[in-house]
Symmetry: C2
Subunit: 487 residues, 2 copies
Amino acid sequence: MHLDLSIPALQARYRAGLTPLQFVEMLHDKMCAEDAALDRNIWIRRLSLDEIRVYALALENRDMDSLPLYGIPFAIKDNIDLAGIVTTAACAEFSYLPEVSATAVQRLIDAGAIPIGKTNLDQFATGLVGTRSPYGACKNSINPAYVSGGSSAGSAVSVALGLASFSLGTDTAGSGRVPAMFNNLIGLKPSCGRIPTTGVVPACRTLDVVSIFALTAGDAASVLACAQGLDDQDAYSRTLPPHGHDFGVAPAFKFGVPRQADLAFHGNAEGPGQFAKAIAHLQALGGTPVEIDLRPFLAVAALLYDGPWVAERYQAIRSFIESQPEALHPVTLAITEKAKNISAADTFSSLYKLKALERETRKQWLDIDCMLTPTAITPYTIEAVNANPIVLNSNLGYYTNYVNLLDLAAVAVPTGFMSDAMDSMPWGVTLVAPAGKDLPLLSLAARLHAACVLSVGATEHAPHRLPQAVPSAAAFPSGLVQVAVCG
Amino acid sequence: MHLDLSIPALQARYRAGLTPLQFVEMLHDKMCAEDAALDRNIWIRRLSLDEIRVYALALENRDMDSLPLYGIPFAIKDNIDLAGIVTTAACAEFSYLPEVSATAVQRLIDAGAIPIGKTNLDQFATGLVGTRSPYGACKNSINPAYVSGGSSAGSAVSVALGLASFSLGTDTAGSGRVPAMFNNLIGLKPSCGRIPTTGVVPACRTLDVVSIFALTAGDAASVLACAQGLDDQDAYSRTLPPHGHDFGVAPAFKFGVPRQADLAFHGNAEGPGQFAKAIAHLQALGGTPVEIDLRPFLAVAALLYDGPWVAERYQAIRSFIESQPEALHPVTLAITEKAKNISAADTFSSLYKLKALERETRKQWLDIDCMLTPTAITPYTIEAVNANPIVLNSNLGYYTNYVNLLDLAAVAVPTGFMSDAMDSMPWGVTLVAPAGKDLPLLSLAARLHAACVLSVGATEHAPHRLPQAVPSAAAFPSGLVQVAVCG
């Protein structure tokens, strides 16, 4: 059974008479079948049919028109709380039973969405690979020999395999974008603070973002509209500046492209051609490429890896790691323990460097509406990552690490598949812009997506379909004032 | 000779025929006389008459109307560079000879102002007392048995004694406000990033602000207008949001007053009455007091003292303090060395707490235009501070420590003198508002100042005069759009 799970398609089915209860029963059958057949290590805790039914039943007699996500199934990364289901962060010894759902999860449920399970991740969201989990390496949806990408591993794979319409991940250094590319999905990394992180196990609290994997940019926008907004309990949540001019729907726009010298593909011979194709697509949509100097961005990325932010990961689980270090995945432990030797003075020194680099990058935004980069240099096999877990993981963050430190928003967009030589793995690019410009990015992502691809997710499991345009922008005030001039 | 050094008064003299050269010769005579008579330890390096003459001569044949600070003498705290004069930060072993002036200093010179000397300070701007200097404790301008306040000690005293029209200080935790109160002056602590800190010896780079001591709020506004503005070399300099509604000139406004339980005067029996008088003055000007909860502000202040920010002071002089610890003032060394034991994880933990407290304070700003507090709890004698240097210093920051951490602007305003029982020392209050609202604060400060006092500075040395209103706001765009409705 191939259900089209995109939000408008599924809602059309509901309008035609399908009930949420009927639907979740079908979906549950499909999940059971996939589990048996595929063994991708997607779930840490899939909800039982009875547990899912509770949410479906709650929608009976509700007005579909007042619930923008009526009956839409979604998966939740297992570092985000769902009331009544254990949160593990991929560490059983750390796990706890939350009484209330994360703010973002609750807002989605309130909008009619149906949670279906808690997904596997790189332990404590530390990683971009999806292999650093005691629940097994999460396998790629397109080709199980490859990594899923991480840390939001199962969240991406579940959507790509057609088990959920969308999913929540988290994205501190690229965890919501790298898995999107590797699984042929849209990956929205919203502006920092746009979606509250209340009820999320912190990785780096100053940088953590709840991210959205979706089949289309339009679906991502619909989910964002429901999940976003200030939360008194999260001091890092914020009201963002209005997005201003919507370059995403403009007939002409300018997009930054890194200088040739700053592009890296780490031996992926098809990367340059794939990236050139994406540039050509944007040009065909009215975009003018502008060469930008990626070096200050890359210097920021280096700060993330060598700088003090790992101490946030340490601080987040400080009493746990001090009492039960043996409970951690060995790679996660090795990374996190490095934080012990970083001083406050070192920390401020890095904050100064970041501030100076941010100032350098700011000038470049004056010339462009958004920036285009590859999402990741290349997909890796699980075997390759296991052989060299730290270095290959670092490589994957080349184009993603700097984004949150610089307070940018980003959308990962699938743009096609590589050749047999690259095992027909998907390729993707990321559109990046300053905080607040989520909607223009999604609008442009929708157009680029539609121009590039005829399939979404793992094509043998999810439906072939054309992406939709981003829906009404009512939830995203532009800040532009409409002036009527009368004379 | 009592010269009225306020900017409009001195400029009137220039228009009447006085030349800058004539003026600086008179001023130099006065400085020499004060030096001999008073021995206040104001200067670390007063400029020679020849050195001052260079600046005065440079004004010959210049158009007065194009130079807003034409011929205006100013003093510079000796942690701010003046080209060609050694900067010590009150540590001779640390000193260096700058080739260029600090951005703020150069902008003032470019506007016609004349530097007259480098002033004494608490070493490395670490202190609120003015006694922590190997150049001698700076003595109060009103009563030399009392501390000048610090760390911008000599900057305040030089203006109060009528030796400069205004001076530059720095203010990280209160160093531009406490000395203003103790010397009966206006002390402007501008919004963070408004005046660049390029060419300033850092204390806490994330919090440091160049401050202005002036005879009137109008003078402070004139100096700010010349010194403010982005500087590419200072990543922390910034363009601030427009100030919006100017509550400082509005016929009605609301001002926050701390709950009785949060007020502290540490045994100063006259403090409550003095503060009540200031409240009554603001009410008479159209203000409605609104009780606010100062506890989250005070919790932020506690973070500054016990938290990681001292590591910024350590980082600022790291190689120096590691190689020549014996060169530091013993109190400064003891404070700064504590930073060694603070970790990156502790640092982030404090940043989280600050963020949460900032969120708590933000709600209170919804109800008020500005906040009124005492500037400091009470003046202390030099003898008392020497007997208990750490605790009494901390006490002085009770109402000032939280301001920069919360990204607020502040103006200290003299409001009168205490009785003989308090040695007729001056009293003062501080007006505080969110970043960007410097001009409304100065406008209100001018009105409060005019309502309260008939003298400025040390009354036996500086002229008795009425404060002026804040001049034209052209340099401070409000961000309000003027709409003409035609029908």
